[in-house]
């Protein structure tokens, strides 16, 4: 068997195996949370953990609209009843809860351990007398039927005292006892899902169920509509957008590239041949990411396809140098040194992303490095043996170099555009750097607007301000929580915060529960006090026997633990407010309506409690994003440095570096300015794409400066370069049209960058061409 034949066979086997692996092994994820970094500080990790599975993410806000208030109220009632029957929610609220008799169960049974009113002297005859008089007032009030039932067992009102410590927040107005928006055009509901907000598959199923439940309501007027928002809705939309766009964009990009190749060279053979390195590169990149991460993200895949725009340059270089004189392997051998530097430097640039510490970028980097190297290797050693000996691309108009020479006159364009770019950046009103993490979300503005509106109406603001309490055990954390409760009450009373949600209000520490037990009198003492308190009051004799019995049994009751509440609504709430984290226990205390964040930071610092910290989630997440962006920027600089070193070694002359690096640096300046003028600020994805631009620019500059030795050869080289850059611009132009901010950022940067690199490299390379001619 001849060597070419062996290579072909090996190639077919490898591709077959790769294809099989891709189909059977590769797992595509599209949850945005998979792209979030791990975080470098404990607070950041906590924050990211919250973002992934926290309470805020599990709340969905629903609204019904399109009817008069009465119709809306009726629909809200039926709808929420049906939703409560589902197993997927820990909570379904529509405002009507006050109607139902107080929920009994564990809280009622344990009221003497849970009530903040159980303090020393709470069961003295004086205290009891006061409470009993209040119960008489209750019986006279219009609300008697609601409280009467609990009086014999709970005359001291512990149960209602517990309920009143539970955070309610600002709630919307009501009509016929269900929540209605201020303009009375919408009925409002709030549900809490068991599944995490970022679990897009579970969320999609739940939201589907909600829609079906709504559609099956028979009370609704036909024109009633359901609106839904919340982190879960966003997650589902993001996932769907990513999945849809990754495929749509890659199909469009691939089709455009192949079509353009055909139009440029009028040869099906050429198109098919160029597929050989392209498919190999994409497949190798995909398998490498799968092997390392265990999954490949939809965004990485979408980006991977755009690599086509880079690696298709390699076969084009080969084809553009083919002529009647040499066979493909010979030509390949000739141009390989030039191509090799381009390939190596581009790969080095992307390799820098491997150190970004940001899963999204690490995946992109790995995909690119492996994809580029594989495509280059395949172009070098495999592609030539597939090129039929009769194959010759159509000849190119020899006037092309002449036309390009007119670029000479444009030489001042480079300094001019740099000056213009810098001026633009200096006077622009658009901030240079993107600092809002939210702007990277692929969720549409309309959805965000609806979310803001419903949150405002429901008094369920995005959780932004948190106190974080850390301790060794859950008991520690609960005790700290109890210690700051008074301080929080003071803050609320002064209006500095609107409210708070503290886990120890639901579950007091074991110590506090035992304290309360010690305040419960012995049965004989309690009976004596009660008899004295009852003197002259018209209560039926023996009415309070259940109360005496309940106090007696509470004295020896086992204190409540987290486990007691497992699989209950309260348990779910506790789990979201307190959890195990990095070997210790952490409680989060969401704060509502913080007036002055700076002031609050100082106040909390003034408490001198190292276990308690105030965190502004928005600030913190933006800081996190900025830290990664700065790191990426640094990495790009390092990459650029490494590229320069390799380049200097490759061309073995420092003076040759100028014509290669100048166009690239100029192009980066212009790209930055154009991105800014278009109203966008630089995110870390723009920065990461600079590496791509550098890689492309190098490739162009190296080939522009290549000495060809003949007019015809130069024509072919230039034509090849034009084809290369056009395919790149096509692919990234498609990407720039994406509604996913990450892909849009990459697309715009690369498309504009590719154009500038070509233009500037052409202008700079002119003299070299003359010299070689």
């Amino acid at each position: 068997m001849s060597r070419p034949r062996a290579i072909r066979l090996l190639w077919v086997l490898l591709m077959g195996g790769g294809m099989w692996l891709s189909v059977t092994q590769v797992v595509v994820h599209s949850e945005l949370s998979d792209l979030l970094p791990e975080g470098t500080t404990a607070t950041q990790r906590l924050l990211l953990n919250q973002a992934r599975s926290g309470l805020a993410g599990r709340i969905l806000l629903l609204a019904l609209e399109g009817g008069n208030p009465d119709e809306l109220a009726r629909a809200s009632g039926t709808f929420s009843e049906r939703l409560r029957a589902s197993e997927h929610f820990t909570l379904v609220e529509n405002g009507a809860q006050d109607l139902r008799p107080p929920r009994r169960g564990i809280v009622y049974e344990s009221r003497f351990l849970l009530s903040p009113k159980v303090v020393p002297g709470a069961f003295s005859s004086d205290s009891l007398r006061r409470e009993l008089e209040h119960r008489l007032d209750d019986l006279r009030s219009p609300l008697a039927p609601l409280v009467k039932e609990t009086i014999p067992e709970d005359p001291t009102g512990e149960f209602f005292a517990i309920l009143s410590t539970w955070s309610g927040g600002d709630r919307p107005g009501k009509h016929r006892s269900v929540w209605l928006s201020k303009d009375r055009s919408k009925a409002l509901l709030l549900v809490e899902t068991k599944a995490a907000g970022f679990d897009a598959d579970a969320q999609a199923a739940i939201q589907q169920e909600i829609r079906q439940t709504f559609a099956s309501l028979d009370v609704q007027p036909a024109h009633l509509q359901l609106l839904m928002t919340g982190a879960g809705v966003f997650a589902v939309e993001a996932k769907q957008t990513i999945e849809r766009e990754a495929w749509r964009l890659s199909t469009a990009a691939a089709a455009l590239v192949l079509l353009f190749l055909y139009v440029s060279y009028r040869s099906i053979t050429l198109v098919l041949l160029s597929l050989i390195p392209l498919t190999a590169g994409v497949m190798a990149g995909m398998l490498a990411v799968q092997g390392w991460f265990g999954f490949i993200h939809g965004i990485t895949l979408g980006f991977g396809i755009t690599l086509l725009g880079v690696v298709d340059d390699y076969p084009i270089h080969l084809f553009s140098h083919l002529n009647a004189r040499g066979s493909a392997p010979v030509v390949m051998q000739e141009i390989w040194p030039t191509m090799r530097i381009g390939v190596l430097t581009t790969a080095i640039g992307f390799a820098a992303l491997l150190f970004a510490g940001f899963p999204a970028l690490t995946q992109l980097g790995l995909f690119a490095v492996i994809g580029i190297l594989t495509a280059a290797v395949v172009t070098r050693w495999v592609l030539p043996v597939f090129v039929p000996s009769w194959f010759l691309p159509r000849s190119v108009s020899p006037t092309l170099p002449g036309k390009l020479e007119r670029l000479t006159g444009l030489k001042p364009v480079i300094p001019a555009s740099i000056v213009l770019a810098c001026a633009t950046l200096l006077w622009s009103h658009t901030p240079l750097w993107e600092t809002e993490l939210a702007s990277l979300s692929p969720v549409s503005d309309a959805k965000k607007q609806l979310d803001g509106q419903l949150r405002e109406e429901l008094g369920a603001p995005d959780v932004r301000d948190l106190l974080v309490i850390e301790g060794q055990t859950d008991e520690n954390v609960l005790q700290y929580g109890e210690a700051i409760e008074v301080k929080l009450q003071t803050l609320r009373a002064s209006g500095a915060i609107g409210g708070y949600d503290l886990v120890s209000n639901y579950l007091p520490s074991r110590r506090t529960q035992q304290d309360r037990q010690s305040h419960l009198p012995e049965q004989s003492v309690l009976k004596r006090n009660l008899d004295q308190a009852l003197k002259g009051l018209p209560f039926a004799p023996g009415l309070f026997a259940p109360f005496v019995a309940a106090v007696e049994s509470a004295r020896t009751q086992v204190p409540l633990e987290r486990k007691t509440f497992q699989d209950t609504v309260l348990g779910a709430r506790m789990a979201s407010l307190m959890f195990e984290h990095e070997g210790g226990w952490t409680a989060v205390v969401p704060l509502r309506r913080v007036v002055d964040r700076k002031q609050l930071t100082e106040t909390v610092a003034g408490w001198n409690m190292p276990a308690v910290a105030y965190v502004d989630l928005k600030e913190e997440s933006n800081a996190l994003m900025n830290a990664y962006r700065d790191r990426t920027f640094l990495i790009v600089l390092c990459g650029l440095l490494a590229i320069s070193v390799v380049l200097a070694l490759g061309v073995q002359s420092l003076s040759a570096l100028g014509p290669v690096l100048t166009p690239i640096m100029s192009a980066l300046a212009v790209v930055t300015a154009i991105v800014n003028v278009s109203g966008e600020s630089l995110s870390l994805f723009h920065i990461a794409t600079f590496l791509l631009v550098i890689g492309l620019g190098l490739d162009y500059a190296l080939f522009f400066n290549r000495q060809e030795g003949s007019e015809e050869g130069r024509s072919r080289t230039l034509y090849g370069l034009l084809v290369c850059s056009t395919t790149t611009m096509l692919v990234f132009g498609v990407l720039a049209g994406s509604s996913i901010p990450v892909l849009h950022a990459i697309g715009t940067t690369a498309a504009v960058g590719s154009f500038c690199c070509l233009l500037f490299a052409g202008i700079m390379a002119k003299k070299e061409l003359h010299a070689s001619a």
Partner: protein
């Protein structure tokens, strides 16, 4: 306040003349419509009351005394003076509750307390002669004669039924004498109105 009551007595007086004319014309039929009109015409802006609350938890009723005030069309006030000072003020949709003994003052929305709402509806609509509204919330039936009548109100909605079995008003002419409220578990309160006792 003074001009308000003057105005209302003026309107009341005019209404009375109109009603009297209507009686002449219709042959003095005694219907719910006439009764409600009459109550509206003869109502006083404030009236004293004595209320007895009977409960299965108690061996004798709890007594309380105070004043009811009504400022048309919306403001309703119940002031309890004995055994301790309490005040309920209903204005539109807002209910303010103040208790001296407990040292509390709450403001809640009627929408949050459908039980309270049905009382308020009953008072407001009977005092303003708004029979349409009254019938929306209650089934209304009347018995007796002009000199001694009873007006029975039964809630239509489940939310009302949960806390009120019925409200029974008795009176003579346009004057309400007692208001009895019975809850589904048999507990009840009987309020006796004492005209003139308020000032």
């Amino acid at each position: 306040m003074i001009s308000g009551s003057r105005l209302s007595s003026l309107i009341g007086g005019a209404g009375f003349v109109l009603v009297a004319v209507a009686f002449e014309a219709s042959g003095a039929a005694w219907t719910v419509e006439t009764l409600v009109e009459l109550i509206k015409d003869q109502r006083e802006t404030s009236v004293g009351f004595e209320e007895a609350t009977y409960s299965s938890l108690l061996i004798q009723p709890v007594m309380s005394r105070g004043v009811l005030r009504f400022e048309p069309p919306e403001r309703l006030e119940k002031i309890v003076t004995t055994p301790s000072r309490e005040r309920y003020v209903v204005e539109g949709d807002r209910v303010t509750f103040e208790s001296e003994r407990r040292g509390v003052k709450h403001t809640v929305s009627l929408e949050d307390y459908p039980a309270l709402r049905s009382f308020v509806e009953a008072f407001r609509s009977s005092l303003t002669g708004d029979l349409l509204q009254l019938r929306k919330v209650y089934e209304v039936s009347m018995d007796g004669s002009r000199g001694k009548w009873t007006l029975l109100l039964r809630p239509r909605e489940p939310s009302g039924k949960a806390v009120v079995d019925y409200i029974l008003l008795t009176g003579s002419g346009g004057r309400i004498a007692t208001i009895a409220i019975r809850s589904p578990d048999g507990d009840r309160s009987v309020m006796t109105l004492l005209p003139g006792a308020a000032r």
